[in-house]
């Protein structure tokens, strides 16, 4: 009899979706961008992906073993962190540096704070920022894609925009990813495809990505004064990658719909400010990290009043 009376706290309904299941969807959504990046940047891209993904899983497994915690690599989140971090790196990055970045992302940002669900910041973002500060020259390299005109390297689109030569960029090339930059950020088309898949599968909601990109578009429109140039601005840099895959992380972004809108607008404003007036050419990762820190407050401000409840 005692076994039949199960006393647990709510929620009492359980769905079929599991963490593993959702993470698998995200990996599938990242697949087009990963494949395109290998086509664009060559086989060394595979080595970069392999080094971050394998080291992410190894670090998480080792941390769980050393601290005698439950083995958590099966939830696949370490693989996503590894993939996202690699997508933020240039193809020429030395592999040992990629492993160091993964160590920061997995061990320091995620595991030391208690593992998935307890980290306050997006591991891949912090990994990238630590690498940007630690290995500045290797990280700001701008390797060109295979088959580009200049064989060695070319300026990233954002560097071109900063130098004022914005008209030399081609909208179509930016959309398809035929420009220099980090592995996964160049091809907006592949990232959009992945984002649509996630929205259709109900893994993410449209609020954050749309408001994020729209805010950057509006800001760029005001500064450049031309809708076409503003479009070039949002297609360059890591905006789509950040808005679709990193600003929608469950753990580090608001849970309410209005909160997600606030989050997206905040990210967009910060990105736009850093891009046009900051000392770094790209501001997507910094803006997401700063908004990650504000997430608990955004959640608190936008919490719905329960029916019949008293306003807090």
């Amino acid at each position: 009899m005692g076994e039949k009376l199960i006393l647990t706290v709510s929620p009492h309904f359980t769905g079929k979706r599991t963490t593993q299941n959702i993470m698998l969807d995200v990996i599938l959504a990242l697949a087009p961008a990963v494949i395109v990046s290998v086509i664009l940047f060559g086989l060394r891209a595979i080595a970069v992906y392999a080094s971050t993904v394998i080291s992410a899983v190894v670090f998480e497994y080792a941390f769980d073993r050393i601290t005698k915690k439950e083995n958590t690599i099966k939830d696949l989140s370490a693989i996503i962190t590894g993939l996202l971090l690699a997508m933020n790196l240039p193809v020429t990055i030395p592999l040992w540096q990629a492993v160091v970045g993964t160590f920061f992302a997995i061990v320091i940002v995620k595991c030391l704070f208690g593992g998935l669900g307890k980290n306050f910041a997006n591991p891949a973002i912090v990994g990238r920022i630590v690498m940007l500060l630690a290995f500045t020259s290797a990280m700001s390299a701008a390797p060109s894609f295979l088959g580009s005109v200049d064989a060695v390297s070319s300026a990233t689109p954002l560097a071109v925009i900063n130098s004022g030569d914005i008209r030399s960029l081609s909208l179509m090339k930016l959309f398809l990813g035929q420009c220099s930059g980090a592995l996964g950020e160049t091809c907006a088309a592949a990232l959009l495809l992945g984002g649509l898949y996630l929205i259709i599968r109900d893994v993410i909601s449209w609020h954050t990505p749309v408001t994020f990109i729209a805010t950057v578009y509006l800001g760029s429109l005001i500064v450049t004064g031309s809708p076409y140039e503003a479009l070039l601005c949002i297609l360059s840099g890591g905006l789509f990658l950040g808005a679709i895959f990193m600003a929608t992380d469950y753990v580090t972004t608001p849970t309410t719909k209005w909160g997600q809108v606030v989050f997206g607008i905040g990210c967009g404003l910060l990105t736009f400010i850093i891009r046009f007036w900051g000392s770094y050419p790209e501001g997507v990762s910094f803006s997401i990290l700063l908004m990650n820190i504000l997430t608990p407050f955004i959640d608190k401000w936008t919490r719905k009043k329960p029916f019949g409840g008293i306003a807090a």
Binding site: W96, V130, L133, A134
Partner: protein, 233 residues
């Protein structure tokens, strides 16, 4: 308490940096290289032992109401001696430490031991406490400096290490790296001592140096107030 225990407790169980969390500023600032960490640790240890001895000897003479200024005068005297000696005989080290040498005057570890230990213990015990705490500070600085210099700069005490020289992580020498290493070391020490390191007694009213001024005659007064504050939050 046994004499050896007075010295040993400063090394790990009551390590001033990793357990009592005192002296964070010089720890972060001078642990960028092994040499500056060693110099800082030795200078602070010398000042700590001397000031503990003098303050303990004067503990019945110093009026309670102006004790902090008195401690500062004693400590500042010894810091000036160390500073002038270093300037005369080790000018390059003096340059390296810069303002942090003079800042030993307001180092929390030294003031904290004067307030928390030397003013209530005999001269001999106070000297041993100063020695233990000083060595604890020195060891903590050295641990952090070795991690930061070897991994962050690829060298040890200025000598380049062949393989690591080309594979260093410069952020560890910068200030964010200092905080990272600091946090990880605190976690490690806490794990080594099972998180039981700080002795609770020294933090309640008995050990509280402001107990008289506080006006709460018993500890329960303090505790109740904390509870109320927690509820109000």
């Amino acid at each position: 308490m046994k004499k050896s225990n007075i010295v040993l407790k400063g090394l790990l169980k009551e390590n001033p940096v990793f357990v009592l969390l005192l002296g964070t500023c010089p720890t972060l600032a001078t642990s960028t290289s092994v040499i500056s960490a060693l110099a800082m640790g030795l200078a602070a240890t010398a000042v700590l032992i001397c000031s503990n001895i003098v303050i303990s000897a004067l503990r019945n003479v110093i009026p309670d109401k102006v004790r902090i200024p008195c401690y500062i005068v004693v400590i500042a005297g010894f810091v000036t001696i160390v500073q002038l000696l270093m300037q005369a005989y080790l000018p390059s080290l003096y340059e390296m430490l810069g303002v942090y040498l003079a800042l030993i005057v307001v180092n929390c570890i030294i003031l904290g031991r004067a307030e928390g230990y030397a003013n209530s213990h005999k001269v001999g015990e106070a000297a041993l406490d100063g020695l233990g705490m000083g060595i604890g500070f020195l060891l903590a600085l050295l641990c952090m400096a070795i991690i930061r210099e070897v991994l962050g700069n690829g060298s040890f005490a200025g000598m380049a290490i062949p393989f690591l020289k080309d594979h260093c992580i410069p952020i560890l020498v910068q200030s964010p790296g200092g905080f990272l290493v600091f946090g990880i070391m605190i976690a490690l020490v806490s794990a080594l001592t099972n998180g039981k390191a700080p002795i609770k007694k020294s933090f309640d009213c008995e050990g509280c140096p402001s107990a008289k001024a506080c006006g709460k005659l018993t500890c329960s007064g303090c505790a109740n107030e904390e509870k109320e504050a927690a509820v109000n939050d």
